[in-house]
Assembly symmetry: C2
Homo-oligomer: 266 residues x 2
């Protein structure tokens, strides 16, 4: 069986360091492909060129919104070491770069040092069946991605714009049961509603300028628990932090993004 | 007057998108140039090619340790928009890339939206003259950087390896009084001892694999207050978070790095 994500991030070789892809409309937020989905697509091309299986650190800069359809990917595998490797990549449409990526890869299954620090307890969150479907929160915007990703949020945030905190807590997984691997975590780090939504209400599209995801552990099967919070908004630019745990409460990824809060309607 | 940092990050043009630099030994940690210093040097070449004055988001990947002496810098200014621009760069020595950089630029002096979130209070910290010089903590390793950067830390961390938390709190500024601008913040985000030092004691060099700095505000004149903490160490890889405030307790930068904890001595 092929899962939706794998089919819809299929890439084909097009020469040295070059790949072709078809950006699917199935992961759209309104008219735009979701940023996490397009990052996963570009990441596939980097993974095809490095010797390590897992992204450890992935930084994506969003220059212009990508669109559905044909895209060219350009990859440079810059360094391959024993423990980690590094690569850069970009997505090009209409001869213009839309995304730039810089990533470090490794192998999460390598056993190693047993010194551990884990002062990142997961948030308080009722089980998924007592949470609220993300779909029920989004009147007016068509969200094809909700046929691909199942996301439920804490009942407290069902009314946008009513909380003092800019914070989202919820569960997430792929709709077709695809296991969540390191590539999947990079996508899911940008698949919740923006956390400023709970504080300011319907603020429209919050474009990501830059997203860095650190994958920390391979998740156990099942749902991913996520906590997204914005504690630093200034002059229309915000920092959103995202942490994700598996069902065993193990921290599996951390992410941070710089995003633009569009001007409030007059 | 020319400040030390500006003199020691001087770059000269060497063709389209190419610059030459001289990596100074004055910012070394032992035998290696400090990662923040080399990031600032590469950043200078990107700033020379983009229309905006301030780095907003700077990701640096450290592939191989740079060394003192001649270096080539290669820059690509990928996009110039009204509000932000994007560029990539790399530092090359002996024909091998040592650092890769991907950054977004803007203008911190632009006034804009007045919606604000600032749930990042600075840490408890006595005034600089009641803190302990970083120099007094580091027996045995030669730290030329301490002639360039003045760093003092909370008296509580004077004994490495004695705390449960992997945490450093301190003040920092340039030794020659150079005002701290957005470039300076990128350097200073990687100029304290690693926070795992307080938890595990003398653990040797903690090589940074990747560092992302978000510059949030232009600092007021004076010291920078910094808080560095590692809450996520697993399998020899750690995430360290750094936040910096100016003397008015305004959050001026956030940074996060992925670093390698070398194996414990047998």
């Amino acid at each position: 069986m092929t899962y939706q994500l794998d089919r819809e991030t299929n890439i084909t070789p097009a020469g040295r360091g070059r790949w072709r892809a078809d950006v699917s409309p199935h992961w759209n937020i309104g008219e735009n492909p979701n940023g996490g989905y397009v990052a996963a697509l570009v990441l596939k091309s980097l993974l095809a060129e490095v010797p390590h299986p897992d992204p450890l650190s992935v930084t994506t800069h969003y220059l212009r919104p990508p669109r559905s359809g044909d895209a060219n990917l350009e990859v440079e595998a810059v360094r391959a070491g024993r423990r980690t490797s590094n690569a850069t990549g970009r997505l090009i449409q209409d001869e213009r770069p839309r995304l730039l990526m810089l990533a470090t890869f490794g192998d999460l299954s390598t056993a190693g040092d047993d010194r551990e620090l884990t002062a990142n307890p997961p948030p308080d969150l009722p089980p998924p069946n007592e949470c609220v479907a993300r779909a029920s929160l989004e009147q007016g915007v068509h969200l094809p991605i909700l046929d691909r990703v199942e996301a439920v949020v804490h009942p407290d945030i069902a009314q946008p714009g009513t909380l003092d905190e800019a914070e989202v807590r919820g569960w997430i997984r792929f709709g077709d049961g695809r296991p969540i691997d390191s590539l999947g975590l990079v996508l899911l780090a940008d698949a919740f509603p923006p956390s400023v939504f709970t504080r300011f209400g319907r603020i429209g599209w919050v474009p990501t300028l830059e997203l860095t995801v650190h994958v920390r552990r391979s998740p156990a099967p099942g749902w991913i628990k996520a906590h997204l919070v914005t504690t630093d908004l200034h002059n229309g630019l915000l920092i959103e932090d995202c942490r994700m745990w598996d069902e065993n409460d193990r921290l599996v990824a951390q992410a941070r993004q710089l995003a633009l809060l569009n001007p409030a309607p007059a």
